[in-house]
């Protein structure tokens, strides 16, 4: 169904192309120009990371700046991968991130739906309490939380990293609430009159309409879980359980930093998220055709 509408969409663009006027070409060119200029600005940091990752230590810190290294130190990559148990850390990180995504995608939409579309008593109060929990800086609850996990015998396991996702994080609940509240009531009204249960409306009408939002949440959860340093450091006491972000610290010595390897590892670190992101933003395009029906 979705694929069909995409191809129909493409067809439409094709016929549109033929009718292009000079003015629309100029318009599209100017769009490209803006995107390119801004793109250079945004490409900058990552390009810098990639370039640095294949530079010698002399080139990395050369003053004035050296744009293009004389010799590419590709060995930074192989050295980095061999210097730390890279595969193991990657698998650990993947494990934590994917399970967090799963948990968040189960719990957050449910809660968000309750807050957005069921007008129960105390709903607003509950929402404000939820918002309140994230207004308190984490530093002040860090130790009591550790005490709690320790009493539950969960220190040095992945539980403290993953479990919270299965109860929904306020951030994603709020985000999804906003999406759900935006869906017109007329869409669900008739189903309600037909006697459909609330869960059926949720799972068969609201969720499919919120595909872009759900993918966005999945992406953000994955990203944050993947990059998180503090929680894995605090809760994991076994190097074999470490995640990549903790593992990358191996290159940072007290007086001596392996810059080349660090940068190479950091570049590798980013690749899975880039792939995931590329996939997710494709879904946005599909999402148009799906929700376009409303």
């Amino acid at each position: 169904m979705a694929e069909q509408s995409i191809s129909a969409d493409r067809l439409a663009t094709k016929t549109f192309k033929k009718k292009r006027t000079g003015r629309s070409i100029a318009k599209s060119l100017s769009k490209h120009l803006i995107l390119c200029v801004a793109g250079v600005f945004f490409l900058g940091p990552f390009a810098y990371l990639l370039l640095t990752s294949v530079k010698s230590i002399d080139d990395i810190f050369a003053v004035p700046f050296v744009w293009w290294p004389e010799r590419f130190y590709w060995e930074n990559y192989s050295n980095a991968v061999h210097a730390i148990p890279f595969l193991r850390y990657t698998l650990n990180t993947l494990f934590v991130s994917l399970l967090s995504v799963l948990g968040e995608l189960i719990a957050a939409p449910l809660t968000a739906y309750g807050l957005a579309r069921i007008p129960f008593k105390g709903r607003n109060a509950l929402f404000m309490i939820m918002m309140g929990t994230i207004m308190l800086p984490a530093q002040s609850t860090m130790v009591p939380l550790y005490v709690l996990y320790n009493k539950l015998d969960m220190v040095n396991s992945y539980w403290p990293l993953i479990l919270p996702a299965y109860f929904g994080a306020a951030y994603y609940i709020f985000l999804l609430r906003q999406f759900f509240m935006g869906i017109p009531h007329e869409i669900t009204e008739s189903a309600k009159i037909d006697g459909a249960s609330e869960f059926r409306i949720y799972s068969q009408m609201i969720l499919p309409l919120s595909i872009p939002a759900l993918f966005t949440v999945g992406l953000l959860v994955f990203l944050n879980s993947w990059k998180d340093y503090q929680l894995p450091l605090i809760y994991l006491n076994d190097p074999n359980k470490w995640t990549l972000s903790v593992g990358l610290k191996a290159f940072i010595g007290e007086y001596n930093v392996e810059w080349g390897m660090l940068m190479a590892a950091a570049a590798l670190f980013a690749i899975p998220i880039i792939i995931l992101y590329f996939f997710v933003q494709k879904v946005f395009i599909q999402g148009i055709t799906m929700t376009g029906s409303k």
Binding site: L43, P45, F65, T111, I118, K121, Q178, I285
Partner: protein, 309 residues
């Protein structure tokens, strides 16, 4: 199904049923809150009324910690720095992210590539990012000051001059707007196309279309961003630490980078004044809550939910 008769019992039963449904749907969060959040939060509030060093039993001092806050010049200093970064940073970053999302939502060739490029900076780890900043903001050889020089402006000493350290952070913050852009992109997918088609027929300009169609349609997302950016900005920590580290002191030059959360962290984990730090945390809670309530109250005037009846 309950017979929805006109009598009061029926109404009450219906209400109870709705309440039950609401609680069922929100139960994941409520259970998680009761198990994992309530105890730390209550404990932290209790600590704020005590003298507590993380080891010895807390000693009750009532509101002394809160009173002491108002005598502490660094409390004001760190609050000022935090307000600065919030007021100067949040709205421009948000506007910028929205502008980018609009651009990236436009149908152009290579859309996917552009979108990916704009997201890339969010993936650069802080260690690599900070190296890049150091180079860009270097007052002598940095790219930014060299560009400024080319147009005849003598650039500031970004990382060393206490007047310029916070603007440096705001400037660099634009790179981190990738996730906001993504969320806006997702929101833009929900704007009904037929509205634009109708406006097109009416001959409304793009600018007008943005304000009458796009902006209201994505206003729920704008509310979300405003609230969440406010909260995270008030808890500004990591970037400030990285930046300050580069200048070799916790608060940066003349404490110009001593943000509220950094000072709180210092009180808690360096000075072991957990009671005082907890009072700081709750004071911040009050401030942020006040801001959030104002925003939520006014939101009725500018946020439109498609689901509103």
């Amino acid at each position: 199904m309950a017979r929805a008769g006109g009598n009061a019992v029926g109404i009450r039963r219906r209400e109870r049923k709705i309440l039950l449904k609401g609680l069922l749907f929100t139960s994941p969060w409520i259970i998680g809150f009761l198990i994992f959040q309530l105890y730390p939060i209550v404990t932290s509030f209790y600590y704020s009324l005590t003298e507590y060093n993380l080891f010895k039993a807390p000693k009750w001092v009532g509101l002394d910690n809160y009173k002491a806050l108002f005598q502490d010049e660094k409390f004001y200093k760190s609050m000022y720095n935090t307000l600065y970064i919030t007021i100067v940073g949040v709205v421009p970053h948000m506007a910028y992210a929205l502008a980018m999302a609009l651009l990236l939502n436009a149908k152009v060739k290579g859309q996917s590539i552009y979108r990916t490029i704009y997201f890339l900076p969010t993936l650069v780890p802080a260690v690599a990012g900070s190296l890049l900043w150091m180079w860009l903001l270097n007052s002598q050889y940095g790219l930014i000051n060299m560009a400024l020089e080319a147009i005849g402006i003598a650039g500031p000493n970004w990382l060393i001059d206490p007047d310029w350290t916070k603007p440096s952070l705001v400037l660099m913050g634009f790179w981190g707007t990738g996730t906001i852009t993504v969320m806006y992109l997702a929101a833009l997918q929900d704007v009904p196309k037929m509205f634009y088609e109708a406006a097109e027929i009416d001959g409304a300009s793009k600018w007008r279309q943005f304000w009458t169609i796009t902006f209201p349609s994505i206003s729920p997302m704008t509310l979300f961003q405003l609230i969440m950016m406010l909260i995270s900005s008030f808890q500004y920590f990591t970037e400030g630490m990285v930046f300050a580290e580069a200048t070799q002191s916790m608060g940066g030059p003349e404490n110009s980078l001593l943000f509220y959360s950094i000072y709180l962290y210092q009180q808690a984990f360096s000075f072991l004044n957990m009671g005082y730090a907890s009072a700081m945390a709750w004071m911040l809670f009050l401030v942020v809550m006040a801001f959030a309530l104002v925003i939520f109250k006014t939101s009725a005037r500018w946020v439109y939910y498609g689901g509103d009846k």
